[in-house]
């Protein structure tokens, strides 16, 4: 399944009230949205037709989140669905995740792109090695192990999508400081020269889930219902719903 198909189905199943996309480029994924949408990209060149209530922000995502009320365009400042496909460097992706999660509800869904590179050449911080391949995923895959290690509370699902794999995060917690507290130390581990050492589990996608199976999980009506509840009450409910559907971070 292509990552855009996963995203498209998520839009249908979740009917998010709000959608945030980091890394708009030509608008190929933002065109899937039918809801109140913010797209952030410092150098977008949208060539696709867009059919949603869209605010297109020409800014880096870091500076976007530094704004006073970044989500003012939304009817309420909560991100129901986020697609993070920004700068392909791990420290940028981790910051995007930290910043996005701050604005989520436990029933929100966060999707990160390019998390399962197929080859070390695709996973470089520089683009040189990727030139002989069709895709450059960058080293954002490093976020997977950070999240798995530091956020056992998150449901962290690697998705076997084409081309470079995605990560779906469920049951986010806007109040968690685990990632931001670790950020400064993690950065030092992230910024190392190419070639990167990519774990086998990532390259061979041993933990990855079939996206079709994920989309078939009977959780979507519940997630839609639960986002009406205050975060504190919704969080245990969301965890219960996900657990009973067997959605949990694989070992």
């Amino acid at each position: 399944m292509l990552r855009h198909e996963l995203l498209s189905r998520l839009h249908e199943l979740l009917s998010p009230r709000t959608y945030l996309e980091i890394g708009v480029q030509t608008g190929r994924s933002i065109t899937l949205s039918r809801t109140s949408t913010i797209g952030v990209d410092p150098a977008f060149s949208v060539i696709n037709e867009v059919s949603c209530d869209l605010q297109l922000v020409r800014s880096t995502s870091d500076e976007f989140f530094a704004r006073k009320a970044p989500l003012a365009h939304f009817p309420e400042p909560v991100i129901d669905l986020a697609f993070i496909d920004g700068m392909h460097l791990s420290e940028y992706a981790l910051r995007d995740l930290i910043n996005v999660e701050r604005h989520t509800h436990p029933a929100s869904v966060i999707v990160l792109d390019d998390m399962l590179p197929r080859h070390v050449d695709e996973a470089g911080r520089g683009r040189e090695a990727a030139k002989k391949r069709r895709a450059w995923a960058g080293d954002v895959y490093k976020v997977v192990s950070t999240v798995r290690a530091l956020r056992p509370d998150l449901v962290c699902l690697e998705m076997d999508t084409a081309p470079t794999g995605t990560l779906v995060l469920l049951a986010p917690d806007a109040s968690s400081n685990a990632l931001i507290d670790a950020y400064d130390d993690v950065v030092e581990e992230y910024v190392v020269p190419d070639p990167q050492t990519v774990p086998e589990e990532v390259l061979r996608r041993t933990r990855a889930m079939d996206p079709a199976q994920f989309l078939a999980a009977p959780v979507w009506p519940d997630l839609r219902r639960l986002r009406q509840l205050p975060a504190g009450r919704a969080a245990p409910e969301v965890r219960r719903v996900l657990a009973s559907a067997g959605l949990r971070t694989p070992d």
Partner: protein, 713 residues
């Protein structure tokens, strides 16, 4: 309406009546007028009654004009009565509010004072609300009463007696029911009988401590208050009014004796002792005689049990008529001051740590001495105390154990004071069993919580040391380290939400700068000078900005610094070359040393800049590579924030964005309209044609393009 003379209470027309007795305040009344106009309580909910007690300056006309233009202001003119009792009574009688707030003409109310006081009064059904009083001018003082909110304070249990100023809010019907009014005419201590009576009669006394309600300006030229010269004998005549109230409302016993002891010491013995250096022997003698007469008449010996050790010695000298002995003791006691030597100020994690040698010393700087003997601690006074003094008053065992050494942070703008208790370790013995009252003291506080659980608000704070060993409580500004340069930081501030930087004031004292109230301007000024003196033009124009390599450059926080790693193009250098990095944002600039090392394809510039000097925002970055080299702007910005990770953003600013800058590696825009297969075909053609000489390749490309156009329409 039938006349009901003393019957039903008049319904309140407004929530609060502010009653202000006025006498010749001149311009000193303006801050009060301003603070009343700025109240958050709607003007229609309160009234101000100025009662002019026969002012002879331009105040009467000024108040009349104010009343004419301000619907909630009334002025009552009354012939001069010589003191504030009568005008306050006139104001209370004229008040139409549910509550009456008494304010003196040269003081001020906090902006939210009336709103908060009234809400607190209504919530608790209070008869009296004591709002937190902050002294402006003179020595600062923090009454222990205001350490927390007290919805229902108990007189005799909560330390209400230390705060007898009339600057309080009273339920008007409560004052009327109990006929509580001020003594009128020119007299001292007119407020004590009034406030005491109110405390005795009140069912509910509430203390509002979490907001500075009342700013008490204590100025030397108070036109209407205690600074004017008067006869001691008169003072004690009026003190009898206060003692009458105590005796009227208490039975003989502990509470009565404790209250009497308070007045005996604080308004009698203590005052006399403190006056020794400032009064002539004749004046002191008069005071002594008047107080002795009062003591014989009103303070039975049972009161002395409630006096602290040295106060008891004073009483013994007074009761025995030993004037010389009391004056000699007064001279010693009033010369006692704070001993202090600052050792260091450091910031560990988010905690401030101030270490100092502190204690109490005599006028000549020598420390107070105590002798440990038989498990008890005795004061060793530097003089003979005279025969009337019993040996037991020198037993400081209990008092010595309860000593308190505190650091006080006083907000220079609001005058609010926050106290921090020190951890005091006794300095070593001077001789066997002889202990100096000197301590190695460590004060620790978290600027995020030190203000009653809240962070320090942005301001400059003067720092004081306060040492208490009852009956002596002394305070002094904390002196900076010897030779510390003025206006420069003494230590790096904390990496907390707020930046807190200790620095040395021009008078050599320690102050805290919270959120760059003073230092930021100086830093900008210094950088301007630096730029001018080196002949540089500051950062170069944007188009000359140096490219920053994106994959290996980054920023992170490390302890209290922001570490910047910039990979720049450039020739190899000698490792460890000295460089400078400057961050700039609006008017502020922060410059720091950097190291340069060789790196693949260029150089690596590394710098650690103090995080507390980089408040939230986007900082431009410039680098100077070597001594005297001008600063050159680089294509990167630093985004700092207290709630998000610090971010180094490389690249140039995206066009049309408000904040500027780029994070994504900009990709050349794809040719719109051409499907992917066509672009791929084009690239394959390009590669194929690469083998031909350029001119021939160009001709082929042109022909192919024409063919493609014909085929695709």
């Amino acid at each position: 309406m039938t006349g009901a003379e003393a019957g039903p209470a008049q319904p309140a027309k407004v929530k609060v009546s502010v009653v202000v007795p006025v006498f010749n305040p001149g311009g000193h009344i303006d801050p009060l007028i301003r603070s009343l106009a700025e109240q958050t309580m709607p003007a229609s909910d309160f009234e101000t009654i100025f009662v002019d007690d026969g002012s002879t300056d331009d105040t009467p006309g000024k108040l009349d004009r104010l009343a004419a233009s301000t619907p909630n202001v009334r002025v009552i003119h009354t012939p001069g009565s010589g003191w504030s009792g009568r005008p306050r009574n006139i104001g209370i009688d004229a008040a139409e509010g549910e509550y009456v707030q008494l304010v003196d003409h040269d003081d001020e109310l906090g902006t939210e004072a009336l709103e908060r006081l009234y809400a607190y009064a209504v919530a608790n059904g209070s008869d009296v609300v004591v709002g937190k009083e902050v002294r402006k001018g003179g020595a600062w003082h923090v009454a222990p009463l205001f350490d927390k909110n007290r919805p229902r304070a108990t007189f005799g249990k909560d330390p209400l007696v230390g705060i007898m100023t009339p600057h309080k809010m009273f339920r008007r019907e409560f004052l009327n029911e109990h006929h509580i009014r001020f003594f009128e005419g020119p007299r001292r201590m007119e407020d004590h009988p009034f406030v005491l009576e109110a405390f005795f009669c009140a069912d509910v006394i509430s203390v509002l401590s979490d907001y500075p309600v009342y700013y008490w300006h204590r100025r030397a030229d108070r036109g209407n208050a205690g600074a004017r010269a008067y006869e001691w004998a008169d003072f004690y005549v009026y003190m009898r009014d206060t003692l009458d109230v105590i005796e009227r409302y208490t039975e003989p016993g502990d509470l009565r004796d404790r209250l009497l002891a308070f007045y005996y010491d604080s308004k009698g013995l203590g005052w006399l002792t403190r006056s020794v250096p400032h009064r002539t022997p004749a004046e002191l003698r008069k005071h002594f005689d008047a107080l002795r007469e009062l003591a014989q008449e009103r303070f039975p010996p049972s009161v002395d049990i409630h006096l602290h050790g040295m106060a008891r010695a004073r009483s013994q000298l007074l009761r025995a008529g030993d004037f010389e002995g009391l004056v000699a003791l007064g001279a010693v006691e009033s010369a006692i001051g704070v001993h202090q030597e600052l050792v260091e100020i450091e910031v560990v994690d988010d905690t401030f740590r101030v270490r100092a040698i502190t204690g109490l010393c005599y006028g000549d700087g020598s420390p107070l001495q105590f002798q440990v003997d038989g498990g008890r601690t005795w004061w060793r006074p530097p003089i003979e105390l005279g025969s009337p003094v019993s040996h037991d008053v020198l037993d400081f065992s209990a008092v010595h154990g309860r000593r308190r050494i505190e650091l006080a942070l006083r907000n220079r703008r609001s005058h609010d004071v926050h106290l921090i208790s020190g951890d005091a370790e006794q300095m070593t013995e001077e001789a066997p069993g002889i202990l100096p009252f000197t301590f190695d003291t460590v004060f620790e506080f978290d600027p995020e919580t030190v203000a009653g659980g809240q962070p320090l608000e942005p301001a400059v704070y003067d720092v004081f040391v306060r040492v208490t060993c009852s009956p002596w409580r002394r305070q002094a500004p904390l002196q900076s380290l010897p030779g510390a340069p003025q206006r420069r930081p003494l230590s790096r501030g904390s990496r907390a939400t707020h930046s807190v930087v200790p620095f040395t004031t021009p008078s050599g004292r320690v102050a805290l700068d919270v959120d760059h109230q003073t230092l930021i301007d100086q830093e900008a000024e210094m950088n301007d000078r630096e730029a001018t003196s080196t002949g540089g033009n500051g950062p170069g124009p944007k188009d000359q900005a140096v490219v920053v390599e994106v994959t290996s450059s980054y920023a992170r926080r490390s302890a209290d610094r922001v570490r910047l790693v910039l990979h720049l193009p450039g020739a190899g250098t000698s490792d460890g070359q000295r460089a400078r990095v400057r961050l700039q944002r609006a008017q502020s600039a922060v410059t720091g040393d950097a190291t340069v090392t060789d790196a693949i394809g260029g150089i690596r510039v590394e710098a650690g800049l103090p995080a507390d000097r980089l408040p939230s925002g986007t900082w431009s970055i410039a680098v100077s590579l070597g001594q005297g080299e001008r600063f050159q702007r680089v294509q990167a910005r630093l985004l700092t924030s207290t709630t998000r990770p610090v971010a180094l953003l490389t690249g140039s600013a995206p066009r049309g964005s408000a904040s500027g800058g780029s994070g994504r590696v900009a990709q050349p825009p794809k040719a719109p309209g051409h499907p992917d297969w066509m672009r791929r075909a084009g690239r394959q053609v390009d590669r194929a044609l690469g083998v031909l000489p350029p001119a021939q390749a160009a001709r082929c490309r042109k022909a192919l393009r024409a063919t493609a156009r014909r085929m695709l329409g």
